[in-house]
């Protein structure tokens, strides 16, 4: 394995899911600038990840019967994990995770509304496979580095969101506040930048943004679907005044419109919220935590410059993320290992770095739930509380026990691949640390790992000894606090 450039190592932990030995070869000779372009301009990389599901030399998926990720949520979860581990466009999957957390929508409410099959379709259906709109995750992948205002407009018409925040029942007679509130509190400007009367006005803006069922709809029919409809007759047509600017001329009022033209109300509000300076700053702060650091507060210069890039590029996200990854803040060595890994990225990284031979991604679901991050099941519309909140005795134990499961599955491959480095316990430890690249260890934990390698008797490097101790060491390293930081 080539010596790894620490800047690229850092970049791939943040803009990807870590580095497999093969990734280390791909990125080995690349400049940091080229590596950023490789990740950000990902349209240049093949979009072939789903086609590789089931191929040898990849992590496995398993299912009770036919693998059906468009209609079975557990299979959809496996497909997403497979993408995180194997995609040639890791930043696209990372941004999909960012948007999933930002627009946090939970499967369980969709099931209660529409049944398991339709709920899975609404969240995960890949376009072009079954009839009906693409699932919400596919929207996030499509717009991973796309235009935020456009994404917000799509989300407002997304069937999963219309069920999740009850927009489907938002009608003229009974305006529904749920989406109207959260589009300001969570998706754009944040608490303190809107009033209660803005919530009522926003609810009225989105009256008539509902769902309609396909002809002959049955929730058990995989080709049945629900799709967005603007119900003009359910739109409340009077003027709506906000506490903030809606139009470029400074006007705070969306004027009364006819029923047939009334859908423009929502487009105007979403556009105004997307380009609101507080949205730009709030997005910059969220991206600071997602890409730069969770242990340093967002730097004011970073927030202002990132917000400016966002606004001057008409809410396009690709220039924003490129700005971040090439910024002095991101590339400051003090920011390395300054984020707590999210459970899904911890799991994907561990699989990439320890190995996946014969490992089924179905084994990831329960551990992820115990770590506090079952995909497609955020705890509420605010998403998962990240950072130090991921860590408690229970969730750390779940990470540690996942490390045990993974290491147990890779016993033989670890022993074989580390055999050349197994002449001394010190060499074995150094090779394993090179492979996993956790935050630096102090002397005491290093000593503890060496003691573990020697605890079974004098080191001989025998196949049997390596078989036991390499797996045990991988488990100790993946479960170490040092490995939880990225």
């Amino acid at each position: 394995m080539a010596q790894i450039n620490p800047d690229i190592d850092h970049l791939l932990r943040r803009a990807g899911f870590g580095m497999s030995p093969a990734d280390a070869d791909t990125f080995g000779d690349m400049s940091t600038t080229a590596a950023v372009a490789h990740l950000v301009d990902y349209e240049g990389r093949p979009d072939d990840v789903d086609a590789r599901i089931g191929r040898p030399d990849h992590a496995q998926v398993s299912s009770r019967d036919l693998f059906s990720p468009d209609i079975d949520i557990d299979d959809a979860r496996q497909r997403w994990m497979f993408r995180m581990v194997h995609s040639r466009r890791p930043l696209q999957e990372r941004m999909a995770m960012f948007w999933h957390n930002h627009f946090a929508t939970a499967y369980s409410k969709l099931v209660a509304d529409s049944g398991a099959l339709q709920a899975t379709k609404m969240l995960a259906a890949k376009p072009g496979v079954l009839r009906g709109p693409q699932g919400q995750l596919e929207l996030f992948r499509q717009y991973a580095l796309g235009n935020y205002r456009d994404l917000l407009l799509e989300v407002a018409q997304d069937p999963a969101m219309l069920v999740w925040l009850d927009g489907k029942t938002n009608t003229r007679a009974k305006p529904q506040e749920n989406f109207g509130r959260e589009v300001m509190e969570l998706f754009t400007v944040g608490v303190g930048n809107y009033t209660e009367s803005d919530v009522y006005a926003a609810a009225r803006v989105f009256t008539g943004w509902n769902l309609r069922k396909s002809e002959g709809y049955s929730r058990e029919d995989m080709n049945a679907y629900q799709e967005f409809v603007y119900n003009a007759s359910e739109h409340e047509t009077s003027a709506k005044t906000f506490s903030f600017r809606i139009y470029g001329n400074g006007s705070q009022t969306i004027a009364a419109r006819s029923e047939s033209a009334g859908m423009q109300d929502g487009i105007d509000l979403i556009t105004a919220l997307a380009v609101h300076p507080e949205t730009a700053r709030r997005m910059a702060r969220k991206l600071w935590s997602f890409f730069v650091s969770e242990i340093h507060p967002p730097d004011a210069g970073f927030v202002e410059s990132t917000a400016a890039v966002y606004l001057s590029n008409g809410t396009e996200m690709r220039p924003v993320v490129r700005h971040i990854l090439t910024s002095p803040w991101f590339n400051n060595p003090a920011m390395r290992y300054a984020r707590y890994s999210w459970p899904a990225e911890f799991v994907a990284r561990a699989i990439k770095e320890v190995g996946w031979q014969g490992f089924s991604l179905d084994k990831v679901r329960t551990p992820l739930a115990n770590m506090g991050m079952l995909l497609f099941e955020p705890p509420n519309v605010g998403g998962w509380p990240p950072g130090a909140n991921w860590f408690s005795t229970g969730t750390m134990l779940a990470r540690s026990n996942f490390a045990a499961t993974l290491a147990a599955s890779q016993k033989e491959t670890l022993a074989v691949s580390l055999e050349p480095d197994a002449r001394t316990p010190q060499a074995l430890l150094a090779a394993m640390v090179d492979r996993l690249r956790p935050a630096p260890f102090d002397t005491a934990p290093q000593q503890a790992m060496l003691s573990y390698l020697l605890a079974g008797g004098a080191w001989t490097g025998s196949a049997e000894q390596l078989n036991t101790r390499a797996a045990g060491l991988a488990r100790l390293l993946v479960a170490s606090s040092e490995y939880q930081f990225v």
């Binding site: 305006p175 130090a388 102090d442």
Partner: protein, 417 residues
């Protein structure tokens, strides 16, 4: 919300590790800390419980006119008498278990609990109930500050959180609270067996014991890891408990069963945190049945099983349960057969030493009534939730509530003890 919580944790992780004592001292410390027999079980109903369908003003005509599809018919409520304002009240029909405890005089219902200018944001409101300060949704929590008053070193299981995430109420400057969301998977797994597995666990404990000088975030994660390894064996004692009743087979019931096990097995925890979600009933919540009926069934069946169990074990007089939610809901139902975010809510307090009954007065739901706010859309608070906290701290846990709550809220507190 998220950022401020992170910042708080960041500032506090440097000191959090001292809350976790070495394992050899655990039992002795647990026994030595004052009167360890009194426990407080805090239950959070996540999402904003619709208090008006929990405790129903079944003679208020506006209740029926404003809730045409979700009102519980007067004939189906479980009557609990009238409050001091003369309003007849009844519990939701799925709350038979809790009504029995009410009839035994051990369930207090604190009506219209809340605070002025109630936040309608889930996150801000939940944090306010945690900080016990309506002016700030960041910083430490009231239970965390209680734990900080206990003598050091503190036993690692002094508080026991049954949810995976640490709620703000339990955040403190100096005390880490173990989160044990699933006690049956709270075990140490290894890729190996026998002595190799034991040696690995020893190494993991040694690694997590590294003080990580100058690296507070690493020290914080180490503390969670060490806290887990050090509490595994005692948690296993609690999960091996055989209860005296059958608990409902759902997450909430199983959490309460684990809490009962910890109490009966004398683990020594003073504070338990239990939560159950699904209360954000914006649509199709139903009346006597339906989604809301199921929520009330889950609550009542779980809590009454727990209460019966600890009473059968002779421990009811050492146990108090308090139930709260971040806000109540709108009085009028919305177009989706649900209710949107509202203001004042209902607190429930029960236990062998609790003076049961109806506290506070129900609102008149007629538009224009002075007990309403927000253009008569919401119920106005009457009892400051911090006065209930004060009563729990002063009268139950036996500490001075004033420094913990940063103010004196004892006046006007419902006399629940």
């Amino acid at each position: 919300m998220g950022i401020s919580r992170r910042l708080f944790i960041r500032n506090s992780v440097a000191t959090v590790t001292i809350g976790l004592a070495a394992p050899d001292f655990l039992t002795a410390i647990a026994q030595a800390q004052g009167n360890p027999s009194r426990r407080l079980v805090v239950i959070y109903l996540g999402g904003g419980n619709d208090a008006l369908n929990t405790l129903i003003p079944y003679q208020d005509q506006s209740y029926y006119s404003r809730r045409p599809t979700i009102a519980v018919p007067a004939g189906q409520v479980l009557q609990v008498g009238s409050d001091t304002g003369g309003r007849a009240l009844g519990l939701h029909p799925r709350m038979g278990g809790l009504r029995n405890i009410f009839n035994e005089g051990r369930l207090a219902l604190v009506q219209r609990s809340g605070y002025p200018n109630s936040s309608r944001s889930h996150f801000e409101a939940t944090d306010i109930w945690g900080t016990a300060n309506p002016q700030t949704s960041s910083g430490s929590g009231w239970l965390g500050r209680y734990l900080d008053t206990l003598p050091r070193p503190l036993d690692a299981l002094t508080a026991w959180n049954t949810s995976g995430e640490t709620p703000r109420a339990l955040l403190s400057g100096t005390t880490g609270v173990p989160a044990i969301p699933n006690a049956t998977t709270y075990i140490y797994a290894s890729p190996n067996r026998g002595s190799a597995a034991a040696e690995e666990r020893t190494a993991a404990q040694a690694m997590a014991s590294n003080p990580a000088a100058g690296r507070p975030h690493l020290a914080f994660v180490n503390s969670t890891s060490r806290g887990a390894i050090e509490t595994l064996d005692r948690v296993a004692q609690a999960t091996s408990y055989t209860p005296s009743v059958v608990y409902p087979n759902n997450g909430f019931g199983l959490s309460l069963r684990t809490v009962a096990g910890a109490i009966v097995r004398g683990v020594g925890s003073r504070v338990f945190w239990v939560q159950t979600g699904g209360f954000d009933t914006h649509s199709q919540q139903g009346g006597p049945g339906g989604a809301y009926g199921n929520l009330m069934g889950t609550l009542s069946d779980g809590v009454s099983a727990f209460y019966t169990d600890v009473r059968n074990q002779g421990l009811a007089n050492d146990t108090t349960v308090v139930v709260f939610s971040e806000f109540g809901r709108r009085i009028s139902e919305n177009g989706s057969g649900g209710t949107d975010h509202g203001a004042a809510g209902l607190m429930l307090v029960l236990g062998g030493m609790v003076r049961g009954g109806l506290y506070g007065t129900a609102a008149s739901l007629a538009p224009g009534s002075p007990s309403l706010e927000n253009n008569s859309g919401d119920v106005r608070y009457e009892t400051d939730f911090r006065s209930v906290y004060a009563r729990l701290l002063d009268q139950w846990l036996g500490v001075n509530s004033v420094p913990i709550l940063n103010g004196d809220f004892r006046a006007g507190a419902p006399a629940i003890f």
